[in-house]
Amino acid sequence: MEKLLLLGAEAIAQGAIDGGMSGVYAYPGTPSTEITEYVQHNKTATERKLHSQWSANEKTAMEAGLGMSYAGKRTMVCMKHVGLNVAADAFINSAITGVNGGLIVAVADDPSMHSSQNEQDSRFFGKFAMIPIFEPASQQEAYDMAYEGFELSEKLKIPIMMRITTRLAHSRAGIETRPLKQEKKLSYPEDPIQFVLLPSNARKRYKGLLGLQSLMEQEAERSAFNTYYPARNKSIGIIACGIAFNYLMENYPDRKFPHPVLQLGQYPLPFVKVEKLVNECEQVLVLEDGYPLVEEMLKGYLDKNSKIKGRLDGTIPRDGELNPDIVARSLGLEVKIGKPVPSIVANRPPELCAGCSHRDIYNALNETMKEFGKQKVFSDIGCYTLGALPPWNSINSCVDMGASITMAKGAADAGVHPAIAVIGDSTFTHSGMTALLDCVYENTPVTVIISDNGTTGMTGGQASHATGRLEEICIGLGVKPEHVRTLTPLPKYHDEMVSVLREEMLYEGVSVVIPRRECIQTLSRSKKEVKVKMEEAVK
C-alpha cells in the first residue's frame, strides 16, 4: 500500500477524516494550524462537505465542536496550547456534559517556545478535566489515535484530548491509512438534559464523570499505545511518554532496550503497568516532553529522595524540549560533541517583511510618541509584535490575545495618558472586541490602533473574521463614528498618519485608528495564483 507523506499535524487530520469526522473547528496557532488547513484542502473532506472554516477564537471553536457533537456527529477541535486557556471554560465543562457524537480536542504544545509565549503542558488540562489523553510518539500513531479516538469518545461518552508537541506536529513521515468510515447520522442525545449544567444536573453528571475514571484507566491498561518492554537490567526502568519514546529508541536501535521500558501513549496512567515498573526497578527515569506531569505524580509531594528521576531532580533540564542527546545523557550514555558554531556567525532574528504595513505604522507611531513620552504602548500577539525589536522598539507589552486593549484601559485608569493599544485585525476579533466594549462602557481615554493587513499573518495567512467589517464592529460596539479613523499605511502618507494619531491621542475618549493595507505575503501569493491561472487559461 502506498504511504502518504504527512506532517504529524496532517496525520491527525487524515486520521480524523478517515475516522468519519463531520467537521473541524479551530483558530490558527502554531504548531496546530496545519491540522485544519489539511482538512480545508483534502479531497474527501471537500466531497463530504466537512466543516472546516476557521472560528473567531478557540472558545467559539470548542463550543461549536460541542454543538456538532450534541447533534450526534464526530467532531474535532484544534488549537495551540495557549488557545486551550481561552477555550478552558467550555473544555472543562464539556467533560461534565459529556458528548453525543465522538469529540477529539487536539492541542499542540510548544516546548522550547519556538513560537509561543510559554511552554505550558496541555496534559495538565486533560488531567484537570479528567478525560483520556492520547499522546502519539509517531505520525502513524497520531493517525491511528485520531482514527480510533472517536470510538473511544463515543464509548465513554466523554471528549478525548489529543496532545502533540511542535516536533511531531511539524515533522513529516510516511503513514499507512485505513478504510474510510461513514459519517454519523444526525441524532439527539438520549437524555434531553444531558447538556444542561444546572447545579442539580451538574452534580449528577460530575459523579458520572468520577465514576468513569476506573473505566478510563482500564482502557489505558489494555491500550495498544501503552506498551511494556521487559528487560533484564532492572537498575533503572524508563517511562517514555509520547515523542520521548523516539529519543529513547534513537539511543537503543531496534528497540533493544537493556532496561524495562513503559511506552506511554494513552492516559490516565495505566496503574498496573506503572506499578510493575516502579516495583521491579531500583530507579525510574521519566522522559516527558513538557512539564514533569508523570514524574510529579509518581514522586508525590513529600518523597524528596524518591527513586524517581527526571526534570525535578535535575537528571533532565527543567525546561525546554527533549532531544536524543538529552535522553542519552540522562541515561549516562555517550554523546558526540560536534564542532562549535564559529564565532563569526551572527544572530538572525525574524523580522517584519520588507514592504509590510506594520513597518509604516510603527514609523508613524514612533514619531508621534516623541511628543507623548515612552512606555505607553501596549501591544498584542501577531507579526506586529516584532515591533518590540530594533529598529522600532515601539511596544511595551505582549501577553495574551486581546490584552493590548484591556491593559491600555487599566493603565489609562491608573493615569497613563495617552494609553495606546496596537493590535492586529485577527487578534481584535479573537479577543479584542469585549475589551473595546469595556473601554466604551466607561469612555476610557484609549487610542486603539488596529493594524489591519486583512489576514491572520503570523500563522501563515489564514482568513480573518475582521476583514471588511472592522469599522462596523467598532461603531456597533459604541465607538463614536468620528473617532473611527482609517489610514493607508504607506511611507508617502507618513505625515498624515502622524497627525491623525496625534489628534486621537489628544482626544479624551475611546478612539480607534485603522491603518489598512494588505499583507504583502498574501498579496504576492494571490498574484502568483492569478499568474498560474492565466497561464493555464492560455494553454
Binding site: 515533522s171 510516511g174 558526540k336 560536534g338
Partner: protein, 201 residues
C-alpha cells in the same frame, strides 16, 4: 543505507522545497523518511533549518543527534555554519556562497568562506550565479541540491522524478527549469570532486 541531512537557510529561500524533493525521491526508493521542519515565527527573514533523515531501517528520532549529520546543505553561507555542531567528523558541508544580508552585523565574506573551507569536506558553490547561467534564476535552491546530490545515497534520477512530482502543479516549464538547475549543480560538484581527488593523489 542512511543519510542524515541538515538543511539550512533563511526563511523564504526554499529549503522546504529541497526537503520535499528529497522526500519524494526517498519514497520512490521505498526508504523510511523523517523530516522535521520549522514553521511559524522563525520563517520571517530569520534562520530556518530542517532535519531530514532517510534510511532503509525504521527511523526513531525526528531530530538528528549532535555530531551525526552526514551532510549540511545550505542555501546561504553564514547559515551553513550555524548547524556545525550537528555535522559528523567526516560529514560534507555543501553551501551556496551568495549571502542573504538582512542584518547589520553580517560577517566579512572572505572570513566566512575561510571558515567554511577549514572543513575537510566542503563544496562552496555560487548557486545564484549558476542558476542565472542556466536561465532559472529562481532555482538556486535546486542548484545547491544538485551540488549535494553526489553525497546523498539516492539515485540521481529519483531526484529529478521528485522535482517532477513536486512542481507538476506549477507547469512543465517550471519543472524543466528546476531540473536544469539540479543538473548544473550536480555537474559542478562532480567536476570539483574529480579535481580534488586528483589533487590529493
Amino acid at each position: 543505507m542512511k543519510s542524515d541531512i541538515i538543511l539550512s537557510g533563511v526563511g523564504g529561500q526554499g529549503i522546504l522545497s529541497i526537503a520535499a524533493v528529497v522526500g519524494m525521491a526517498a519514497l520512490e526508493n521505498h526508504l523510511y523518511l523523517k523530516q522535521a521542519e520549522v514553521h511559524g515565527m522563525s520563517q520571517r527573514g530569520g534562520a530556518v533549518q530542517s532535519h531530514l533523515r532517510i534510511s532503509e531501517r525504521e527511523i526513531a528520532s525526528d531530530l538528528i543527534p549532535e555530531g551525526r549529520a552526514d551532510i549540511i546543505i545550505s542555501v546561504e553561507p553564514m547559515e551553513s555554519l550555524r548547524y556545525l555542531p550537528w555535522l559528523s567528523e567526516n560529514g560534507w558541508l555543501v553551501t551556496n556562497t551568495t549571502p542573504f544580508v538582512n542584518i547589520t552585523d553580517y560577517p566579512d565574506m572572505n572570513e566566512l568562506i575561510a571558515e567554511i573551507e577549514k572543513l575537510p569536506h566542503n563544496i562552496t558553490i555560487n548557486a545564484d550565479e549558476i542558476a542565472r547561467q542556466v536561465k532559472s534564476p529562481r532555482s538556486s535552491n535546486m542548484v545547491v541540491l544538485g551540488a549535494a546530490s553526489p553525497f546523498i545515497d539516492i539515485p540521481y534520477q529519483s531526484l529529478e522524478n521528485g522535482i517532477k512530482k513536486i512542481f507538476e502543479r506549477k507547469g512543465e516549464k517550471i519543472v524543466q527549469l528546476n531540473i536544469d538547475a539540479l543538473k548544473a549543480g550536480r555537474e559542478f560538484s562532480e567536476e570539483k570532486k574529480t579535481l580534488t581527488t586528483k589533487g590529493s593523489k
